[in-house]
Symmetry: C2
Subunit: 401 residues, 2 copies
């Protein structure tokens, strides 16, 4: 098999941990596999460099930031290659450029445009373990670019796609995807398999293991993705195409997102374009709106609700006050949270949402907002009931079994 | 004018010092000059990275070391560019590759083969201050290479040559070239001007300000080189072509090299090839031989003397014992030092060497070995007289005037 492995900052956080990663890579190699390894900067390194830049200005040029930040991954890649060579393995370290990664011009948040895998393929043919500095590429002018936070995951998935690798393993300090946060529900179970779409819903809902862009790309390129821990030998979770087997499982996970504040606009004048104006204003202020719910009020007036991150609550409030004359009233609440139930099984099974509403009601938890997609039910509730709701839902769907 | 400035590790040792360098570059810019700045890694950074690599093996692959070590200069280049931008200057940071530096394949000690200055020239035309990460380039295969210790000086001189810059300023924590080490002779004077050849002799004799390879390259490319301090506004020393004015100065400096051990082989059988055998043996053992002196002994036997670094003394001794049967005797002394008198004026003035021998004799300092070149007289003496000899010679040639 050809396996792409990606090790995050915590997994390569110090020299002992890099040694540990070298042992893991070596073990994979010993099983007869070809291995391409993508590495992040040693944990803390990127923040240290950002701190350096911010000593001079709070708005350093993005082109310079890319040159600065891309150095961290190069260091790890070179060190891991040296560690493997010291163990007698033939390894070669490549920068993003040398690995053939070409991106667009969007410094600090570049998109991968193309990958020329020739250099990697040649090294693999020569029997080498290939180590690639993650998070980086070059644009058409030859300037160094970086892919944004979590960019090394993206590098790994993109390389796996370009190399037509059999699988792509993302290593972190968590050993897979869980039915819910084990810190909230000790009976949370690790999932063996989950679909790309479920993972996308879980990631956007607060599961920090895999970044959304990476899962999207894996889905697009049909890369078999494993979430694994670099500190254990557990099997991890396979993120892959939806299959019939999966649909038998009603719900894969329940997630709590506490970083939510609710805005409700009551009796909004129902003139064409009012919603567009409101959300354009929020977007222009770089406020990320999460849930948006609109339904009819009385007398042809409409009610509009949405949630924003906690940190944007005050800003959103100020912006909304400029629409004061166009509505009956507004209502803000920063003491809310969002609980979500995710599962591809919902597509073919009815009653999943009803179960959620029922068990929350049984626990006297009032649901303030509801939003659903094909494979997800999200509910905004009072934040003090967040953990209780998660435990209740987890049990209701039999996720602890 | 187009000025290339190079700032060493101490000059960019922390964020405050990078800020200081930014101010110096800005000041040069304000005078109406175009500036290309070459920077080293922040002091300590390169050694830290070497330490990381040596955690895994004492013999890390040189290709990997180049990828590892080249990251340090990239960080400084990006930070200096950010610091200048924060002050309102238009600056751009380039890696060695982006600056167009192509080297041979000798990783960790590469030679610059060509420079394509187009990117730098375009940036200069756009009114930008160009910051280049020193010490690095890429080879024809696109792998990162580094130029060896002192490589940033070499980058600066090579770029100055390729850009046909008006001058190249090398900044360190020393404000120029002195007639001798001020720690030995407090009356040492800073030289305004010195020739490339004199500088080459001084550098190889222990003056640490400028690396020999850089001075050689400056001579070859006819780059006007200034040695200056980044911590003062002193004028520094100009290293340039020899001119008539210089020849009026008899002696430019006197230097002490304490890292010397003497080996004398007496009554060596004068068969063809014996010297070649001896020095091949030393070279094979990577022992750097400095002075070599041969003269006739009695009965057609020859006497052979040479010096090696202190650390190689024991090794040299062991190797020489294998020639025991081919000579009358051998003599080792690690308590010696070498004092040298350097000056282009010697070419046209006789008596320089005689003065040295006379004043040392007046001070009862016995000269064990003498070696001369066109512009240098070197003498091996008992190490306890080293400082006294330097002070005596410094005064004898009127260097304190």
């Amino acid at each position: 098999m050809l396996i792409v492995q990606k090790y995050g900052g915590t997994s390569v956080g110090d020299l002992e941990r890099i040694e540990n990663v070298a042992n893991r890579v070596a073990k994979t190699r010993e099983k007869g596999h070809n291995v391409v390894v993508v590495v992040s900067a040693m944990s803390g390194e990127t923040n240290k460099l950002i701190g350096y830049a911010e000593h001079f200005t709070s708005t350093p040029a993005k082109k310079e930031m890319d040159m600065l930040l891309s150095s961290g991954e190069r260091v790890t890649a070179a060190l891991l290659s040296i560690a493997l060579q010291a163990k007698g393995y033939d390894a070669v370290a490549l920068t993003g450029r040398q690995a053939g990664i070409v991106t667009d011009d969007t410094h600090t948040y570049a998109r991968i445009e193309s990958i020329d895998p020739t250099a990697m393929q040649n090294a693999i043919k020569e029997g080498k373990i290939v180590i690639v500095a993650g998070f980086q590429g070059i644009n058409k002018n030859g300037s160094v670019t970086t892919l944004g936070r979590g960019g090394s995951d993206l590098s790994a998935v993109a390389l796996a796609g370009a190399l037509k690798a059999d699988q792509c393993e993302i290593y972190s300090d968590v050993d897979g995807i869980y039915t819910t946060d084990p810190r909230i529900e000790p009976n949370a179970k690790k999932l063996d398999t989950i679909s790309y779409d479920e993972m996308l819903e879980l990631a956007s809902l607060g599961a920090k293991v895999l970044q959304n862009r990476s899962v999207e790309l894996a889905k697009k390129l049909n890369v078999k993705l494993y979430a694994k821990s670099s500190f254990s030998d557990n099997e991890g979770t396979l993120i892959t195409k939806e299959n019939n087997n999966m649909e038998a499982v009603l719900v894969s996970g329940v997630v709590l997102d506490k970083n939510q504040a609710r805005v409700t606009l009551r009796g909004v004048a129902d003139r064409p374009g009012i919603a567009a104006e409101i959300f354009t204003k929020l977007a222009d202020a770089n406020i990320n709106v999460d849930m948006i719910i609109q339904n009819m009020g009385t007398d042809g007036l409409t009610n509009l609700g949405f949630t924003v991150p906690h940190s944007e609550h005050e800003n959103a409030k100020k912006l909304m006050e400029t629409f004061d004359h166009e509505m009956e009233g507004m209502d803000f609440d920063e003491h809310v949270c969002k609980v979500s139930v995710v599962g591809v099984g919902m597509k073919s099974h009815s009653g999943v949402a009803a179960t959620a509403f029922t068990v929350l009601a049984q626990n006297n938890i009032n649901i303030q907002m509801i939003s659903t997609s094909e494979i997800k039910v999200s509910m905004v509730i009072d934040e003090k009931y967040g953990e209780l709701a998660i435990r209740t839902l987890h049990e209701a769907y039999g996720l602890d079994k």
